[in-house]
């Protein structure tokens, strides 16, 4: 008997099937990456603590936004674009000593006795109303966060050399693709130090409920 050849499977429609799958995945998926301003909320207390610590007025930087989206910083009207520099000047003032009695030797501010004593004592108090728009609120949070980032970047470059900014080191540290444990540990130490130098204190005064 003659050898019967096996008939070849027709693969012509394979491409169509694959295209169909491809289009399905293209439609149902998203590539977008979420970016955001991360903040930590204060713990909820049923009863407010009886003796709140007394904070000197000069160590508080008040930012108030009203329902018309107007900005009041330290009792003066201010434009959003000037907020970052004002916050930096306040945090970096270093006019006095920290709680441990140390002077701020890395601060480059004006050292005015009317402004904050030490970055570890400087508190930013943010107050908004219920009618304040969310976009302005996020812009303010952004500017205040950026003030800290800018100061940390400045110190990072001073301590660890050009190119080693806080932002770039943080990005490497947070990157899940970087597996080098020794590098991560080194970065962690540096980041902790920088965060310790300029610790973020943004406190939110609760808006009145109607």
């Amino acid at each position: 008997m003659a050898k019967r050849s096996i008939p070849e499977v027709n693969a012509g429609s394979m491409a169509d099937i694959a295209f169909l799958l491809l289009i399905f995945f293209l439609v149902t998926t998203t590539i977008e990456q979420d970016n955001g301003i991360t903040r930590k909320l204060p713990r909820w207390e049923e009863v407010p603590p009886p003796n709140p610590p007394i904070i000197k007025k000069k160590n508080i930087f008040t930012v108030v936004v009203n329902k018309k989206d107007e900005l009041l910083v330290e009792d003066e009207r201010m434009e959003l674009k000037d907020l970052r520099q004002a916050a930096i000047d306040f945090i970096d003032n270093g006019g006095g000593v920290s709680a441990e009695g140390e002077k701020c030797d890395y601060c480059q501010g004006a050292r005015s006795p009317e402004s904050s004593d030490h970055p570890s004592k400087a508190i930013i108090a943010l107050k908004n109303e219920r009618e304040t728009s969310y976009s302005l609120y996020v812009s303010i949070q952004n500017e205040l966060g950026a003030a800290y980032t800018e100061l940390r970047n400045r110190e990072a470059v001073r301590l660890y050399g050009q190119g080693n900014t806080f932002t770039s080191m943080n990005a490497i540290y947070k990157d899940p693709k970087v597996k080098d444990a020794a590098l991560k540990e080194k970065l962690d130490k540096r980041l902790k130090k920088l965060k310790g130098m300029y610790t973020q204190f943004i406190s939110e005064v609760p808006s009145k409920t109607n």
Binding site: A18, N128, A146
Partner: protein
Amino acid sequence: MAKFKKKKDGELPQASTAALPDIVFMLLFFFMTVTVMKDNSLMVENKLPEADDIEKLNRKNDRVMYIFAGKPVAGYEKFGKEAVLQLNDKIAQPSELKQFIHAERALRTEEIIPFMVTALKVDRNANMGLVSDVKQELRKENMLKISYLSVKKPEAK
């Protein structure tokens, strides 16, 4: 003696399409690996505010819980004209957040819960009243890590 078939003049050989499925499969696998499934359709307007001091949020590790808010889009006008919350795929009141958080926690393993981040996807035209209510509920439920999701501000020149 073997004879070679002489090609007819002027006729182009047909392009082989045998490699086409391979190419398409390659594309398919690429998209399967780099993308994330869209898991809820939006019923509210969601134009995020702009910011530049932002951090990337890694959403592949299941730590992120999303809360949407904004004005209801066309087709959902029955929920009013003011900004509302959207949890999963329904419009909700801030008082329903508690249940939602408990349900989200139940979906995750014990080890992840302390590291959970709440991503607030709030429309830029919403007002702070709604966001304050959400934040208060989150504080009561001890979900203290939040992220105000925003889009990168175009570089100012």
